[in-house]
């Protein structure tokens, strides 16, 4: 199972009330809207909070009608860095309008939205994707009215919308009034047909795996996807409209699952605003498409390249890497210099017996940003890294191998993810340049196993190229082979973990320093980590939980034992003690575990370990320190 990471998926929400859904217009007329009380505002705040926690920006297609009544919410959406776009005024389907009515509709909506946020509105999505074959004239009017992109043409068969066979990728449509970018709702090819995979009912009703499969497939085609949802889909308590069976199925299935699935979805891939995604493809004509830059959050140091940290420490453990360190230094300092923030490069000489120490000393002569820690002997990679982490002074720490297999050019990308609000960013060597049998296969199995057991969706635990917020990694002391499980353990402490694809280069110098023999250790460590992450803060509960089957077993054996006693007495036989013994043993085991749990509590108490101490995490004024 591989998740797309490289492209950014556009995330969109169509802001409308539950009673404005087109399928219900038969039952709720436009004139009766005033009698219904709105619920979308509360749901939208929920969505905004979900996005804010993950520092994700999205595009909100807002009804003019809605914006008139909730101008404050619209301004709030804009000030949080999201894009506000148009969804038409009254959710009137385009194919029910004349060109003149359509023009008035979208012009009014644009005016309402622009006066609310004081910025140009670039995007449009037709209510219920109602730009179909007969209404393609709408595109020209959109361009004339100053819209720059549209996201309304669903390239599928559907009873309400869609143009089957329409271009599936984002593209430019040349209208007589000028170019208009079209971002069709994402579909993927399945059995030769375009099937919708990205959002709405398709996301809610079908299993989550379908959406994941679809996103992967679209990713493999190399195009960005666009994902859509509505506030009412986050509102399982909404009043149900007594519409037809099909409409009720489409709109009310799994409303209670949307939020949980949405959270899972957000971990799958990077998400962004539509204008940024289209801009990234070069499909938006003007530079006004980058309001994010013009409206960047005010930071104390306006010149600082990153909002959430000022300095970076690169930690490189090196064991007999005399041929690599100089080149590594050159590449790394080029990458770090390009960032424009303070940095240091820490070499930890892990007891090298070649000229590594001399080489890094020479580097230090040239550049005082090089720091050197020479260890007394070879203590191993985890220990060397721990040394670097302990003495690093940066706000963010980046670790990488000393053997040049990691590419320092990936560092800026890691740091951007940190700046987006993650605490740990792991590298993922998608194309590993190692031997298949001895390195890649065991690693694939181990990683899949670790993902399965710990539930942390990181693909490449062995990759040394990682970036950490200093506070997080300092709280988490490294020992033994712990570095492999940093993501799992830190997630236990509430850290936000993500991964990005990184380059991996074949080994130029020296020999690989691992063998195949690690399987047993990783397996056992995995059991340990699983138990630690589950039970560290409540071992007594854990051990009693583990011991409860023993008590049940004891009861079972006791029943057999009484039965045996009964049989023996009535038959005048001698009594067999086997079941008595088994019952006693089971009972002893259960009791033993109870007391072992108490001892574990004692050990924990004496160490004064708490979740917050573990990861050094605290949230102050919404920003992680």
């Amino acid at each position: 199972m591989s998740a797309p990471r490289r492209t950014v998926c556009a995330l969109t929400f169509d802001l409308e009330e539950y009673f404005q859904v087109s399928a219900f217009s038969k039952y709720i007329s436009r004139s009766s809207w005033q009698y219904y009380s709105g619920r979308a505002e509360a749901s939208t705040y929920k969505i905004l909070a979900l996005l804010e926690l993950r520092q994700i920006k999205a595009t909100f297609f807002v009804l003019g009608w809605f914006a008139e009544r909730h101008a404050r919410l619209v301004r709030e959406i804009d000030s949080l860095g999201h894009e506000v776009a148009s969804h038409g005024y009254e959710h009137q389907l385009v194919y029910r309008q004349t060109p003149g009515e359509f023009r008035r509709d979208i012009r009014a909506t644009k005016d309402i939205l622009e006066s609310a946020i004081g910025k140009p509105v670039l995007g449009y999505r037709a209510p219920s994707y109602s730009i179909v074959k007969q209404t393609l004239w709408a595109l020209e009017i959109l361009a004339e009215e100053g819209y720059q992109y549209d996201s309304s043409i669903f390239p599928i068969h559907h009873d309400r919308y869609g143009i089957p066979g329409f271009e599936r990728k984002p593209h430019i449509i040349e209208t007589p009034a000028g170019p208009l970018a079209e971002f069709p709702p994402t579909t993927t090819q399945f059995l030769g047909r375009a099937v919708p995979v990205c959002g709405g009912g398709y996301f809610r009703i079908l299993p989550f795996a379908v959406t994941r499969w679809g996103l992967n497939k679209v990713e493999s085609e190399g195009t960005p996807a666009i994902f859509y949802l509505h506030p009412w889909e986050f509102d399982p308590e909404q009043p149900r409209v007594q519409a037809g069976i099909l409409s009720r199925f489409r709109h009310y299935t799994h409303l209670d699952l949307t939020q949980a699935r949405f959270i899972r979805l957000l971990q799958l891939q990077r998400f962004g605003r539509v204008d940024e995604v289209l801009g990234g493809l070069g499909l938006l004509s003007t530079t006004t498409a980058a309001p994010a830059a013009a409206d960047a959050p005010v930071s104390l140091k306006p010149s600082a390249p990153f909002g959430t940290f000022n300095s970076v420490s690169l930690v490189v453990p090196a064991f007999n890497e005399e041929r690599s360190v100089v080149r590594l230094y050159d590449e790394a300092s080029a990458a770090l210099r390009s960032l424009g923030c303070e940095y240091e490069i820490i070499f930890v000489d892990d007891g090298s017996t070649d000229g590594t120490y001399g080489r890094v000393l020479e580097l230090r002569e040239r550049d005082e940003r090089v720091k050197i820690f020479k260890l007394r002997k070879n203590f191993g990679q985890t220990a060397a890294m721990a040394c670097g982490f302990d003495y690093a002074s940066g706000d963010v720490i980046v670790s990488m191998d000393g053997d040049l297999q990691n590419d320092p050019a990936d560092i800026p990308a890691l740091l951007r993810e940190i700046d987006r609000g993650f605490d740990i960013v792991c590298g993922w060597r998608v194309e590993r340049k190692d031997r298949w049998i001895s390195r890649r296969l065991p690693s694939l199995i181990a990683n899949a196993l670790v993902r399965k057991v710990t539930g942390v969706q990181i693909h490449d635990l062995g990759c040394s190229l990682k970036a950490y917020r200093a506070g997080v990694i300092r709280g988490l002391k490294l020992y033994s082979d712990m570095h492999r499980f940093i993501p799992a353990v830190s997630q236990l402490a509430g850290a936000r973990v993500t991964e990005i694809q990184v380059n991996h280069r074949p080994r130029l110098f020296g020999v690989s320093k691992y063998g195949l023999s690690r399987t047993y250790k990783i397996l056992i460590d995995l059991i340990s980590i699983k138990m630690l992450t589950r039970f560290t803060f409540k071992p007594l509960v854990g051990f009693v939980w583990l011991g409860s089957p023993a008590f049940i077993l004891a009861c079972g054996f006791a029943i057999f034992a009484v039965n045996e006693l009964w049989r023996a007495r009535s038959a005048g036989d001698s009594v067999s003690v086997v079941f008595f013994g088994a019952a006693l043993l089971s009972f002893f085991l259960g009791t033993f575990l109870l007391f072992v749990g108490l001892i574990a509590e004692l050990a924990l108490k004496s160490a004064r370990l708490s979740p917050t101490a573990l990861a050094g995490l605290s949230v102050q004024n919404g920003r992680r320190k």
Binding site: F373, F379, M531, L532, P539, L546, A550, L593, L609
Partner: protein, 329 residues
């Protein structure tokens, strides 16, 4: 415990709490065994140190049961003598530790309380220390002991070498020398004093073994009771566990536990199958009890390993897996 000192460029790491170094050499003599010749040993050794023109102090640490001997030594008042007397019998590791804490010298030498090494050999190990070793240990050569004792020693060191990956030939030889900074990093407890050189190697110190002549008075045959051998065995087990699994106890417990569980599960499931096929009732198979016992023993061993993991994890902040030689900051 912070073993890293200043950030002076390229500084050799110094203890943070450097005490006033009033003498060159502190000689620590832990007295936990026989000590009839103690006064002579001290005099001979002092003579040897004086010939190296070093200033020195003797710190003699008496275990509780040697109160009388302590008083006797004090009465003779040799120069530069300091004594520590324990209230109870705390053993050699505690004695050494107390000696390290009291020491004021730049270097520390340890010495057995009975004649073991000829005093004139002191110079040899001092020279080795000056040559740059972090720790100098000695081996008595040629040995004049009884063959029984030599075989014992050989086997013991063979096992220790196999366990720790670094072989010494005579760790029981009391004469050792090292800078005080090294002493402060070795955390001694229990019976680990016997493995002092191994501990030093583990912390990344360079340890040099020099051959020294054995004191002829040391050559008698010593026979120990079974309890001594049992203790030695347990020490080895402890060393084995601490060197290989101190940070990952489950790697030992888990493996053993899994084996036991597999054996137990095999026995019980075989018998259960036989019962299901209607061959023999479980009540007539005492082997079933063994299976259950093995299975549960496996579970217990495994879960005790987990407790170990929890303890280590909870104290992870105190673990330091690395030792720094030099810092260029």
């Amino acid at each position: 415990m912070k073993a890293i000192g200043s950030s002076i460029d390229g500084s050799k790491t110094e203890p943070a709490n450097a005490k006033n170094e009033s003498v060159d050499l502190s000689v620590i003599v832990p007295v936990t065994e026989r000590c009839e010749d103690l006064a002579e040993i001290i005099e001979e050794t002092a003579e040897a140190i004086r010939s190296l023109s070093l200033s020195y102090e003797f710190i003699v640490v008496f275990d509780g049961k040697f109160a009388l001997e302590c008083e006797m030594l004090m009465l003779r008042r040799p120069g530069g003598l300091r004594t520590i007397r324990f209230n109870g019998n705390f053993g050699e590791s505690s004695a050494l530790k107390a000696g390290f804490e009291a020491a004021r010298g730049r270097w520390i030498a340890t010495l057995a309380s009975y004649p073991q090494v000829a005093a004139r050999e002191f110079e040899k190990s001092y020279n080795a220390l000056m040559a740059g070793a972090d720790m100098v240990v000695t081996r008595r050569e040629p040995r004049v002991d009884a063959v029984v004792n030599r075989v014992q020693t050989f086997v013991f060191h063979k096992i220790v070498g196999w366990l720790t990956g670094h072989r010494f030939r005579d760790m029981a030889c009391g004469l050792k020398m090292f800078p005080r900074a090294v002493a402060e990093e070795l955390d001694l407890y229990g019976d680990l004093h016997r493995f002092l050189p191994s501990l030093a190697v583990q912390r990344g110190f360079s340890v040099v073994e020099v051959p020294v002549a054995q004191d002829p008075r040391n050559g008698t045959m010593r026979v120990y009771g079974p309890a001594t051998y049992l203790h030695r065995l347990l020490e080895l087990l402890n060393l084995f566990f601490l060197t290989k699994f101190a940070k990952r106890p489950l790697r030992l417990f888990g493996g053993i536990g899994l084996l036991l569980m597999v054996a137990g599960a095999g026995v019980t499931s075989l018998l259960t199958l036989q019962r299901l096929w209607g061959l023999t009732g479980l009540a007539d198979r005492p082997l079933f009890l063994l299976g259950i016992a093995l299975l549960f023993l496996g579970v217990q061993v495994m879960l005790l390993g987990l407790v170990g993991e929890i303890i280590v994890f909870a104290h992870a902040r105190e673990i330091k897996d690395y030792r720094i030689d030099r810092i260029h900051n």
